[in-house]
Symmetry: C2
């Protein structure tokens, strides 16, 4: 009973204003007036009145009745991160095409936050969720699965959870990038990666290892460099200092993310090392590479494609709640080699 200024009129107001019933007005405004035998003149009066008084339907009430909110929740590790922002853009664009809005929640890589957000979004009656999960959120995902709540994982997935997901083939992509460097004559390729346990990163290690060993080279643990995620910039310097001292004849770098590539290029520039001395490859495109490291071989993640596919899978799941998860949808990265 809050005495808020009445912003917009309701069906009831129109009915009162025209001495009709809510039913009649609802039929007309839903565009089914003729099917329901409402006279043309009445339909016209209703439409006219609605237009004049700037009637806007209350979608909350509509959703409450229909059980569909035409809204989906998107949970990402950080919306301030360009990669997730671009994913969000792709997802939003595709959702919009289908008449859906998205509520974006940024978990800031905190599982507790993430779980809270998932629950709130469900309470808000979103029709489904797209989640780029953080680490350790298996429990919540499993309970979504148990409840048969429609959701799709994107960017990251848990092999142990039988959910819909959209990811790139990390092993294959890594394998191809590293193989390309080897085909260009590189023999001592460093693996610059992060100290995280997420599946994607682990699989990228595997791809690297397979490419190295599959091409008759030896896997050299000194070339395996893990950068601590909580102090990226500083730790990259330490890690590279050590690498260049231990293996001065390193001739290539494979980065599991563009962040690490960027840090390394920065290190090169600061130390007056010409990046062109090395074979370089990384996963994730970054437009700045064209400027600072034109030789970088890149596996561009097909963000628009992933966005569209994730919405597609989700809609299939929403339209047919009984359908079991399709399982994975593995999209190909776009190889930009030179």
């Amino acid at each position: 009973m809050p005495e808020i200024a009445k912003m917009s009129i309701t069906i009831k107001d129109i009915a009162k204003g025209l001495n009709l019933s809510k039913t009649t007005v609802s039929f007309v405004l839903s565009g089914i007036g003729s099917n329901k035998g409402i006279s043309i003149s009445t339909q016209y009066r209703v439409l006219q009145y609605a237009r004049e008084h700037n009637y806007q339907p209350n979608l909350l009430a509509k959703s409450l009745h229909s059980g569909m909110s035409h809204t989906i929740g998107l949970v990402v590790p950080s919306i301030g991160d360009l990669y997730y922002a671009e994913l969000a853009k792709a997802i939003e664009a595709e959702a919009k095409k289908r008449g859906y809005l998205i509520i974006i929640c940024s978990s800031e890589r905190d599982v507790v936050q993430e779980v809270k957000m998932i629950r709130t979004l469900k309470a808000k009656q979103v029709d489904g969720l797209i989640i780029a999960p953080t680490e350790h959120c298996e429990t919540e995902l499993r309970s979504l699965l148990r409840e048969n709540f429609p959701f799709v994982l994107i960017d990251r997935y848990y092999p142990s959870i039988a959910a819909n997901y959209v990811v790139i083939d990390d092993v294959k992509t890594s394998f191809e990038l590293v193989s390309h460097l080897i085909s260009q004559g590189r023999r001592k390729i460093a693996l610059i990666t992060a100290d995280t346990k997420i599946t994607a990163i682990y699989l990228r290690h595997e791809g690297y290892r397979m490419a190295v060993e599959g091409n008759g080279l030896e896997y050299d643990p000194r070339l395996h460099c893990e950068v601590r995620r909580n102090d990226y910039s500083k730790n990259t310097i330490e890690v590279l200092d050590r690498l260049l001292e231990e293996v001065p004849d390193v001739d290539g770098f494979y980065f599991t993310t563009h962040y690490l590539a960027l840090e390394t290029i920065t290190y090169f520039m600061r130390n007056n090392i010409d990046p062109r001395r090395y074979g370089l490859a990384c996963i994730h495109q970054n437009p700045i590479f064209a400027t600072i490291a034109p030789g970088m071989n890149v596996a561009r993640i097909p963000i628009e494609d992933m966005g569209a596919k994730s919405i597609g899978l989700l809609m299939d799941n929403i339209d047919d709640p009984k359908c079991k998860p399709h399982g994975g949808c593995i999209v190909d990265a776009e190889m930009v080699l030179n």
Copy 2:
């Protein structure tokens, strides 16, 4: 009447299950059981039953009754743009603190889209809007104002519209950046800007002009360079080629956005020009500057601050719908000079 599998139970189900009325259950679950004289044992039974059956309130129903959705709409020109993504992050974080969710819509710089989104968000009963408007959307903003719908403009504003807004002082910031270059002995400072009519860009021109003329230099139209927005990268090259030919002794660059700065640095690197030859300044921080143009003087836009302030203004407006817009909130950019 869609035969969707019942995901969660309702208050009605609890009432039925315990042979109580909806009212009693609602009182208990709202935490006002004791005030309403519900016995402790009944309260316990309700809470227990709700817990066991994993009761989740339907926030749609709650909102329909209360008239508050605890959701705000955020409309940005492009959520895939790092700047707006960071703004979104700041806004989301601040909203979260106050128990609000945000629905993000990306207008892709299309007024038609933008207007459609604003209307849909209102129909979804968002409690307020934060808008980084595109060009030419005055009409819709005016009608929001007329309806007394709570909203705050961010990043851009229209001087002719008496709305709440949060922006930086473009004139002052520009003035300070350019004055700084002049104080370092630069005399021929090019203005690299975009061919747009938005107020912010216009004001940055003004700041530039004021700094130049206020410091006893002459305003040279040959130094005023407008890059076409629809083909940024290519046009930057043409514009710079012409500038360097016409004014070979240009000794400084002031960029009205970091995009233009980035394009120009790229141009320098491609043409083997050492950026350190020039005095450089721009509005908007970009972490890559540390690597490719350490001499860049930057006015860092205080994104977190702007996000927090915009939510603050919006909440004031929501809590007290009668209160007229506070008017502008001008935040200071953080000057990172060297």
